[in-house]
């Protein structure tokens, strides 16, 4: 089964890209692939180039150092992502010392600074994970991810399991980071709303392939691919009178549909869509879509 098929994406420094897709579209796999923490029996074909270095060529020790220090990953479910037997202090000291030779006091100082920037009370640094709420834990996780000042932050559904208020706070923090530290952000989510708020560019995933890439402005106001259009249509606004959804369900990736993978659910599908796999073509400057009839949707 191919979780991802033929993905090509460039992230510039200081840029934030949103990866949007339904469950099973392969977006989480992408996040984990970037950090090379996929499960043992997965095969990765292709190139991951980070700051000019090809990650596939590096040895294990180098990759371990890149994780956390240069690329950081925050996960969706903060409740289970911290070791229940270690205090927050332990987590920070361990992370920092795993990459840099600093004294415990220095590490603690950095930890406290990171926590402060996430608005987590520093006095609670000796508490255990189970003594914190979900929102707090996510903030601690973000602080842990940022304490070594990585240049790329991969955020896999960082606010999905949190309530809207905490979500807003965290998004604010992410925007802040982008501005202050010029950190690149790969934001993986199914929520188009937060993408619109935080990201510069968007890549829309479907069934393991990219179906459209472009700036936030282009994607949200001038979408080309039918899937993107239907996604945007289904967003509920204050004046929504009728609910729109997309018929059908995401395809089985073990035996995906032939040709364009979206054709079974596409209201504009023609016979040729079943036969030819649409390439990701540029239809406007900086906007690519994988649809054989993209021209008609401009």
């Amino acid at each position: 089964m191919h979780a991802l098929d033929n993905i090509s994406l460039d992230v510039a420094s200081g840029e934030s890209i949103g990866i949007v897709g339904e469950t099973g579209s392969g977006k989480s796999t992408l996040g984990k692939a970037v950090l090379e923490i996929l499960p043992p029996r997965t095969e990765v074909k292709g190139r991951l180039v980070f700051r000019g270095r090809e990650l596939g060529q590096l040895d294990k020790a180098r990759i371990r150092h890149i994780r956390g220090e240069e690329i950081a990953l925050i996960f969706q479910d903060p409740m289970t992502r911290l070791n229940p037997l270690m205090t927050i202090e332990d987590h920070f000291v361990e992370t920092i010392k795993a990459h840099q030779r600093v004294s415990r006091q220095e590490a603690l100082a950095r930890a406290e600074a990171a926590l402060a920037s996430m608005r987590v009370p520093e006095s609670r640094i000796s508490n255990y994970p189970h003594e914190f709420s979900g929102g707090m834990r996510q903030r601690i996780m973000i602080a842990l991810a940022l304490v070594l000042n990585p240049s790329l932050l991969v955020a896999d559904e960082p606010t999905t399991s949190l309530d809207v208020i905490v979500e807003a706070q965290i998004l604010e923090i992410l925007e802040d980071l982008k501005r202050t530290y010029k950190m690149s952000l790969l934001l993986i989510t199914h929520n188009l709303g937060i993408v619109a708020e935080v990201c510069d560019r968007v890549a829309v995933f479907y069934a393991g392939k990219i179906v459209e890439v472009g700036t936030v402005d282009d994607i949200f106001t001038r979408p080309i691919h039918p899937y993107t259009r239907l996604l945007l249509q289904s967003i509920i606004h204050l004046d929504t009178k009728e609910l729109h959804s997309i018929d059908g369900a995401p395809p089985d990736l073990v035996s995906p549909p032939t040709g364009c993978r979206f054709h079974p659910r596409c209201p504009y599908a023609q016979a040729v869509c079943r036969e030819k796999i649409p390439p990701l073509d540029p239809f406007r400057q900086d906007q690519l879509a994988a649809c054989l009839f993209g021209k008609d949707f401009l």
């Binding site: 950090l35 923490i37 371990r64 150092h65 890149i66 994780r67 956390g68 220090e69 950081a72 990953l73 996960f75 479910d77 289970t80 992502r81 911290l82 070791n83 229940p84 037997l85 270690m86 361990e94 992370t95 795993a98 990459h99 255990y128 189970h130 996780m141 842990l144 991810a145």
Partner: protein, 171 residues
Amino acid sequence: MNSRFDISSSPPAAITGLYTIDSLLAGRLDLFIIAIRHLALPCLTLGLVLSGFFAKTVRANLLRTINADYVEAARARGIKERTIISRYAFKNALIPVITVLGLEFAILFAGAVLTETTFNWDGMGRLLIDSIEVQDYPLIQGTIIVFSFIIVLISILVDILSGVIDPRVRY
């Protein structure tokens, strides 16, 4: 007549009643060796049987923790794999194992009847079976009460130990 000691020598003076400790307290290393020699086979038997059970329990728990979310998160932070296995996977796997270990230890007080019979050892299990055979009800009741007491005591100790290791359990 039991097989805890040599027939030719006499066991050490009874302070605790345990031949190993008493012989050490009396400074008699030769008696200590004799006691250990007699302990070897019964202990090996019990240990061998239990080791299978523990191997299964530890394996099952380790499988659970090694795929845990916090392990994945730690790997994403670039923590060394060795540290992850010991500090994250193993330590967390050990918590339920300790509970089981404690309980098993308690049960063994009266539950090693077969070993005691085969090796001619005067244990509480043997006592219980013998009293059942002759239908000595006071002895049966007494043994069961003492045994239950031991189990409760050890259960409490295991609970306290769990609290020490696992911060989530503390009261």
